[in-house]
Structures are given as C-alpha cells and as structure tokens.
Symmetry: C2
C-alpha cells in the first residue's frame, strides 16, 4: 500500500470515529438531562478516572497509553461541555419553545 | 435508562473508540515508514485541512463541528508524534536488532 492508500483507509476510519464520538456525545447529553434534576455535579473526577482506567485496560496498541490518555483528556473535556448545556435547568419559556418544536 | 446505564453504554463505545484510534495509529505509522525514504515532511497542513473537512462533512451531530474539530486537533497532534518516530531513518545497528526480533 502506498501513502494514498493509507490515507484512504484513515478517511474511512475517521467516518466511523466521528459516528462513535457522536454516539458518545448523545449519551453524555442524556446524562446531562438526568443530572438536571439531581444534585450531581458535571465534573466528577472519580468517574473521569474510571474512564481513563477503562481505556488503558482495553488498549492493545500501537498507541502508547500516554498518547491515548492525551486524546481522551480532550474527548472528556468536550463531552463535559456538551453535558453542561443539558444540565442547566431550562426556563419555562424555553420549555414552551421546545414543546412547539417537537 | 438511568445514569449507570448510560455510563455502561459509554464504556462500550470507548472500547470501540480505542480500537479505531489504534487502527488509525497503525496507518499513521505505516505512512511514517513510507515517508522515511522520501522528502515528504511529517507536518502537512494541506492534508490536515482535508481531514478536518472530511470529518465536518460526515458529522451528523449532536457534536457541533467546532467541538469535533477540537477533538480532531488532539488526534492529529498525537498521530503526528507517532509518525515522527517512524519517519526517522534508523541506524544500521537498530535495523540489525529489528531483524533479529522478527
């Protein structure tokens, strides 16, 4: 395989990665909605540590754990932002707009 | 589904994400090896822009493009490091060791 072939493979992998990242974002949003009615904080360091442990455990390489963790720090950071938006209690007027939309 | 269920789903998604990230790293390594014998630089801004365009094109949300790009900046950064290691011409002594290993 030449460089162009490998790049084609990378583009295909990226399609699947984007899909999975979005599935993960949907799940994070759902958790955000559930947190809206509880006292659970958005930032939960224990849960974040569990995620890092999990990804290290399933890592078969060639990505070193350190580099994988580097990617995951960003993923978690982005997901936390997504969740934060959902967790904010909505004003009554916004709920009304949501209802009209659906 | 409660928070624990969504977290289980996230852990499953992470397993698949880690696998895909490693497949992507393998491809980046192969490109690094091919670059070893060429004058192609590791940092190729045009190729990196193409990757950003591709991921935006296939993005169906709920992740906003900006947040997706944020994750991809880190992925590309890590992959560039992986590729850099492969692209360095090996010393003859190292090639000898590699042969003995295989």
């Amino acid at each position: 395989m030449d460089i162009a072939d490998w790049r084609k493979k990378i583009d295909e992998l990226d399609c699947r990665l984007v899909e999975l990242l979005n599935e993960r974002a949907s799940a994070a949003k759902e958790i955000g909605k559930l947190k809206r009615n509880t006292n659970l904080p958005i930032y939960e360091p224990l849960r974040e540590n569990t995620i890092f442990e999990n990804v290290r455990k399933v890592n078969r390489g060639p990505l070193p754990d350190k580099e994988l963790q580097h990617v995951y720090e960003r993923i978690i950071d982005v997901m936390r932002n997504i969740q934060k938006i959902e967790a904010v209690p909505k004003k009554e007027s916004e709920v009304e707009v949501d209802k009209q939309k659906s």
